[in-house]
Every structure is written in structure tokens, then in C-alpha cells.
């Protein structure tokens, strides 16, 4: 199936007749996208939070403050880079880069459109999930190396949190893999082509009998949404950096560009999970209306707008909900989400067996 599609990589190879250039283009494109996206997302976070709270948000940097994130980057570049004396310097300096790398590595398999995926590997879903878990190492490194009790507490909490939320998330993803019978994200996307009722949140393509499976897939979507919030440390699961308890959590001691790395990594992670949500449940780059506005270029539009919607949902939730306590957080994961995820898993298995 993949062979029939002329990917962006092939296109650039054809155009420049050099595989190296094509490789560089394909590698840097997500980075460019990531930087632009991060600026937009930071502005979006500021503005959406402001509008929810009946404020205006940044107003005095450009018209309606739209270049506020640029100012922030310019400022962060100038900030003094502090490494505390008591910190473990190699780990302290490495942690933000590791974190950012892990977040950026996830972009390698994200299919932006049917014709463009940086690396169309067959185990895409597995890879993206593994990369998502890698972030926790950077987090612990940062927290431990800072030699600050708040950082350490934040890091330890986040390890516990991310590891326990990976289980329901993994089971949900497994169920999707059963439904799609592939781990390749492009295949999963392609499976959901056609109208929006073919999306996996509505049971995937199938006959009218799939109405039985819709509640199951919908609750799978909810489970993954919640688990993804926990994995990106967003409210109501922002315990590792819970301001009211742990000052700034694992990045308390970071300043300047290193802090900006953490900041970028958080937003990059947000996009990765939002992208996964849209790929797994909402058809990825597929148009919701059959052939209407469908195609490789429109695919980019659909994919990004779907992902941005979930980024928006994350922001929206953040400014609505209070924060859970650390033990309740574990309780939600182990007592509520994991059993339900297992039920869904079995149901999906049975459904696939009898279908």
C-alpha cells in the first residue's frame, strides 16, 4: 500500500536527485513545525486561559499580543544560565536536552498527511509510545540532579504517575491495534478513510452492528484522553509541577534556555499525544466527509486541525479543573482506569473474533 503513495521524501529525492537533501528536509520539517507550533501553543495557552477568565491576555506586544512568544524566546535566550553549586552538573545539564529529544523523537513517525511521514516504520505506534516514556528519564534526571527537595519530590511523583498511567494507555492502544490489526500509523489512518463514522471512536469501519462496540470505543477514547493528560503532566494531573505544593516541581532550579527546553518539551508532548488521539480515534488526516476536501494537502489541514483541537481541550481542561492528590491519582489509574481498560480490551477482542 505504501509503495503506491508518492511521499514527500520521494518527491524531494526526485526534485533534488539527492537522498541527503531529502533526508535533511524530512528531518527538519517537523522541527520547523514544532517551533512554530510551540510559539502558537504558548500564545494559545495564554490567550485561551485569559479569555476563559474574562481577561485579555498579552496585549501590548504586537497587535493583540500575537508576537508575545517571540519576545519570550528572545528574553529566555538572554537569561543567565544558572547551575546550582550543589547540583550534579552533567546530569543537570543533560536532563532538558534528553527531555526535548524524547519529545521530538516522537515526531519521527507522526503521519502529517497520507504523503508525508518522516519515518514510515511498521512499529510506529510502539515507537511513539516508547519515546513518550523516555521523557520520564529526563524528568527524573532533572529532579534528582537539582539537589532540591521540591525537585526530587516532583520527579519521584512524576515517575510514579507516568509509569502507572502507561498501563491503561497501553491497553487502550493494544485494543486499537487489535481493531486495526497493524501498528503502522499510516495503516491505522488509512483504515479509517471515508466518512466520519468510520473513525475508531465510532467503532471503525463496519456494518450497522458496530453500534454494540461504539460505547466501548468511546470509553477507550476517554481513557486515552485522561491517560494522555497524565503523561504530559497537565491538569488535573500536574502534580510533578504542582505550584501550590512543590513550587515548580522538577524544574524549580532551571533557568534560561534550559527551562525553555522543558517548556518546549511539554508543548511538544502535548502535540504528540493530541496527534495520537486524532490518529487513533479520529481518523488522522482523513476528511470527515468522505471525499470532500480529501487529499494529501488537505490531509495536513485535517490532521493539524484535529490535533489542535485536542491541544485546545487540554488547555481548556487545565483552566477548569483543580488538581488531584498524588495517592488519588494512583487510585484513579489502578482502581478505575486499568480495570475499565481491561474490560474494553476484552470486549474489543471478542468483537474482532466474532466479526
Amino acid at each position: 500500500m505504501e509503495q503506491q503513495i508518492l511521499t514527500l521524501y520521494d518527491w524531494v529525492v526526485k526534485l533534488s536527485s539527492s537522498e541527503l537533501i531529502a533526508l535533511i528536509v524530512v528531518i527538519t520539517l517537523p522541527l520547523v513545525f514544532l517551533i512554530v507550533y510551540a510559539l502558537v501553543a504558548i500564545l494559545g495557552e495564554l490567550k485561551i486561559s485569559a479569555f476563559i477568565q474574562e481577561r485579555l491576555g498579552p496585549m501590548r506586544t504586537g497587535p493583540w499580543g500575537i508576537i508575545q512568544p517571540v519576545a519570550e524566546v528572545v528574553k529566555l535566550l538572554q537569561k543567565e544560565d544558572i547551575t546550582p553549586d550543589a547540583a550534579n552538573k552533567p546530569l543537570f545539564n543533560m536532563a532538558p536536552f534528553l527531555m526535548f529529544t524524547a519529545a521530538y523523537a516522537g515526531f519521527a513517525v507522526i503521519p502529517f498527511s497520507s504523503h508525508f511521514v518522516p519515518a514510515g516504520i511498521n512499529l510506529g505506534l510502539f515507537y511513539i509510545f516508547a519515546m513518550g516514556s523516555l521523557a520520564v528519564i529526563g524528568l527524573v534526571m532533572g529532579g534528582w540532579a537539582s539537589n532540591n527537595k521540591y525537585s526530587l519530590l516532583g520527579a519521584l511523583r512524576s515517575v510514579a504517575q507516568i509509569i502507572s498511567y502507561e498501563i491503561p494507555a497501553a491497553i487502550v492502544i493494544l485494543s486499537i491495534v487489535i481493531l486495526a490489526s497493524s501498528m503502522n500509523l499510516q495503516v491505522i489512518n488509512a483504515n479509517q478513510g471515508g466518512w466520519f463514522w468510520n473513525w475508531y471512536v465510532f467503532g471503525g469501519p463496519g456494518t450497522a452492528w458496530k453500534i454494540i462496540i461504539i460505547p466501548i470505543t468511546f470509553s477507550m477514547f476517554l481513557l486515552y484522553l485522561i491517560a494522555s493528560l497524565a503523561e504530559t503532566n497537565r491538569t488535573p494531573f500536574d502534580i510533578p509541577e504542582g505550584e501550590s505544593e512543590l513550587v515548580a516541581g522538577y524544574h524549580t532550579e532551571y533557568s534560561g534556555m534550559k527551562f525553555a527546553m522543558f517548556f518546549f518539551a511539554e508543548y511538544a508532548n502535548m502535540f504528540v499525544v493530541a496527534a495520537l488521539l486524532s490518529i487513533l480515534f479520529f481518523g488522522g488526516w482523513n476528511s470527515p466527509f468522505g471525499d470532500f476536501m480529501n487529499g494529501p494537502i488537505w490531509g495536513v489541514f485535517w490532521f493539524i486541525s484535529k490535533s489542535f483541537f485536542f491541544v485546545f481541550v487540554q488547555i481548556w481542561l487545565r483552566w477548569t479543573l483543580p488538581r488531584l492528590r498524588v495517592d488519588q491519582l494512583m487510585g484513579v489509574s489502578w482502581k478505575v482506569m486499568t480495570p475499565i481498560a481491561f474490560i474494553c480490551f476484552f470486549a474489543v477482542g471478542l468483537w474482532t473474533m466474532f466479526n
Binding site: 474574562e54 504542582g242 488538581r323 488531584l324 492528590r325 488519588q328
Partner: protein
């Protein structure tokens, strides 16, 4: 000198299994400059030692150097969130010593402003309590409403936060013409927002999980620790000076004393202390509505202002129901125009002293919530 050594000695006794965490004085949720020395076993709090005095501004020393009217601005700065309520017991005490009867209109305005300030204080209390739990948006909704109340205060007194408005024998200035309409519109707005806050914050499942069954304070312990206000009422004891020892004209109004019932958990937990404040705002609205209805608009608020304030030799302990609890002033007069001594019984000072008792054995995150539910103002703790 001996004290320093003692403290150092305590530090040397740290159990190596446990972690000593220093919370504050600069910490986002210590509500000011409180410092808590917390001993943690894992994440479980085994000991809390509050260190206060980071805002000790020598109020009692100043009071001895000032004439009676000059003390009022300093009293404002004690509990700066509810300055109107603060001035009241002090002014009332001197009026009692001097035998001044204040006009009817003054009493009504005092009641209305005190209740408005109670609403403003509870708004801050609930807002910061929500902020401790990580809910930022309700904080801003409540602050938006508080701004309307401050506008009315500013129209009357000229100050936004610190008013110097209650003077001995009267008020600093008369209220403006549209006072009644302004206040009634505020009451309406407060009720509307409270509905939203109930849905958005107070009855949110996550929030309930955070505050129910946390920091349980039994009523007898609360009394022994001298707690008052919403802290003791949250434990189910209807102790309210407005009903128990009615001062001013509070006996004319029909309102209920709100107590905690253990709605979602145990009686006396953080949720109860918070819900008492929440429902007290409604009761304050009721008092304001009644007072607005009965209040005479004509009359001078400054006619009884004495030219020279020189109370006779004597002493008095005056108290009033502050939003945070019983605020008392022990005023000793020596017959001159300067007080001999003013001792203030800071409400938050007493309420805070119960914190080590009720926070042991909970998680560190709960300690923050318990501190938030006690609702302290450091200006009053340290004076």
C-alpha cells in the same frame, strides 16, 4: 541567646529516615510569609512547626505611641483583607469607654460595610483555597466580583483596600447617593457567581476528593485551641459573636449561623470549613438586604465625632465577629489621648496555632489544603 541553641539542637536530632522540608517564607501557597518546618515520612507529614513573625510590624508598640484616631490606620493593616471589620471592635471599645451612642444611620452603614467586607474576605478565602488545589479560574471569577465591592468601598471612603473609615463616634465620610442600588447590584452579582463557583469548584468531584475527610478538627479541640469563626463553626459548633454576644444592631436582623454538617465527609474537615464560608456569604447577603431596607438615608454620620478623644482611665476588652473569627482588642486607657496599651487578639494567630494538631498523619498535599482551609492572614498573625 539560649533559644538559638535550643533550635540548633533540635535540628541535630533529625531522624535520618525522615525528610525535613522547609515550606516558605516564599512559597506560593503559604498565604504570605509563613514558614512551616515540615517533617515528612515519605510524603506523610509527621510534624509541622510553624515559624511566624516574618511580618511582625510592631503594631502594639505603635499603638502606644499614637493618639487614639491615629491607631486606626495601623489596625487596618493588621488583617488587610477585612479592614472594615478590623476597625469596628476598636472603635466600639473606645465608644463604650467614652459613653458615645452612635447614630442609627452610622450603625446601619457599619453593618452593611462589615458584611460586604465579610463577603470580600470569604471570596478571597475560597479563591485562594481553590488556588491551593490548583483551580485557577474560580480564583479570578471571585476576584472579579470582589472588585465591585471594592469600588463601593472606594466611593465611600476613598481607599480601595485600607479604609480608615470607622471613626470613633461616626464615620469618616457619608456614603454616596447611589449607595443602595450599588450594594443591591453587588448582592445580585455575588449570588450569581456563587452558583457558578458551586458547580465549578466546590462540588467538583476532584475538589471534594481533595478536601473531604482531610484535616478533621473536633469541636472540643477547636475550643481548647481558642479557634473561632468558620474554623470552629466548621466543626459543628454554632459559636458566632453576632448571635452569642450581639453587638451593634445585629439583633435586628434575621440570619442563620452556618455550621458544618459533614456533608461529604466527617464533621470538621476542610470541606466543612470551606462550605461554612461559602454559605456565610449568602447569610451576609441576607443581612445586607435587610439593612438596606431598614436604613435611613438622611442624617449626618459625623455629628457625634468627639473633638478630642480622651477616654477616662479604664480598660476594656472588645470583640467582634471578624470574617476569620473573634477579633478582640484589650484597650487600656490611662486618661490621656494616647492609649497605655492595646493588645490585639489576632484571630488568625489563634487559628493558626491549631495547624500542627490537625495536619499530622496526612499527606504533604493535604497540609497545603489544611492551611488553606484555616484561612490565615499573616498581617494578623504577626501584627
Amino acid at each position: 541567646m539560649s533559644e538559638t541553641k535550643k533550635v540548633e539542637f533540635e535540628y541535630s536530632q533529625i531522624d535520618s529516615e525522615r525528610m525535613r522540608l522547609n515550606v516558605g517564607p516564599q512559597h506560593p501557597s503559604t498565604h504570605g510569609v509563613l514558614r512551616l518546618e515540615v517533617e515528612l515520612d515519605g510524603e506523610i507529614v509527621t510534624e509541622v512547626v510553624p515559624h511566624i513573625g516574618y511580618l511582625h510590624r510592631c503594631f502594639e508598640k505603635h499603638a502606644e505611641k499614637m493618639t487614639y484616631p491615629q491607631v486606626i490606620p495601623y489596625i487596618d493593616r493588621m488583617d488587610y483583607i477585612s479592614a472594615m471589620n478590623n476597625e469596628w471592635p476598636y472603635v466600639m471599645g473606645i465608644e463604650k469607654l467614652m459613653g458615645i451612642e452612635v447614630p442609627e444611620k452610622v450603625e446601619y452603614i457599619r453593618v452593611i460595610f462589615a458584611e460586604l467586607n465579610r463577603i470580600a474576605n470569604h471570596q478571597i478565602a475560597i479563591a485562594t483555597f481553590g488556588l491551593d488545589a490548583g483551580a485557577f479560574t474560580p480564583f479570578l471569577y471571585l476576584f472579579r466580583d470582589r472588585e465591585f465591592i471594592l469600588t463601593v468601598f472606594e466611593k465611600a471612603s476613598g481607599g480601595r483596600l485600607l479604609y480608615n473609615y470607622y471613626w470613633v463616634g461616626g464615620l469618616a465620610a457619608d456614603v454616596h447617593k447611589e449607595f443602595k442600588e450599588d450594594v443591591l447590584s453587588i448582592v445580585k452579582q455575588v449570588r450569581e457567581t456563587n452558583k457558578e463557583i458551586a458547580d465549578l469548584l466546590i462540588y467538583n468531584k476532584i475538589f471534594i476528593e481533595r478536601v473531604a475527610n482531610v484535616g478533621i478538627l473536633p469541636a472540643d479541640v477547636a475550643i481548647n485551641y481558642g479557634c473561632s469563626g468558620p474554623v470552629v463553626r466548621g466543626s459543628g459548633l454554632p459559636f458566632d459573636l453576632r448571635k452569642d454576644a450581639p453587638y451593634s444592631i445585629y439583633d435586628r436582623f434575621d440570619f442563620d449561623v452556618v455550621i458544618g454538617h459533614g456533608e461529604v465527609g466527617t464533621v470538621g474537615d476542610c470541606f466543612d470549613r470551606n462550605i461554612v464560608r461559602f454559605h456565610e456569604m449568602e447569610q451576609s447577603c441576607r443581612i445586607i438586604e435587610q439593612a438596606i431596607e431598614q436604613m435611613p438615608m438622611d442624617g449626618d454620620v459625623r455629628e457625634k465625632l468627639p473633638k478630642k478623644i480622651r477616654p477616662p482611665k479604664g480598660e476594656i476588652y472588645t470583640k467582634a465577629e471578624n470574617p476569620k473569627g473573634e477579633l478582640g482588642f484589650y484597650i487600656v486607657s490611662n486618661g490621656t489621648d494616647k492609649p497605655e496599651r492595646i493588645k490585639s487578639r489576632g484571630t488568625s494567630f489563634v487559628n493558626l496555632s491549631v495547624l500542627p494538631e490537625i495536619s499530622k498523619g496526612y499527606l504533604f498535599a493535604d497540609l497545603i489544603m489544611i492551611l488553606g482551609s484555616v484561612d490565615i492572614v499573616l498581617g494578623e498573625v504577626d501584627r
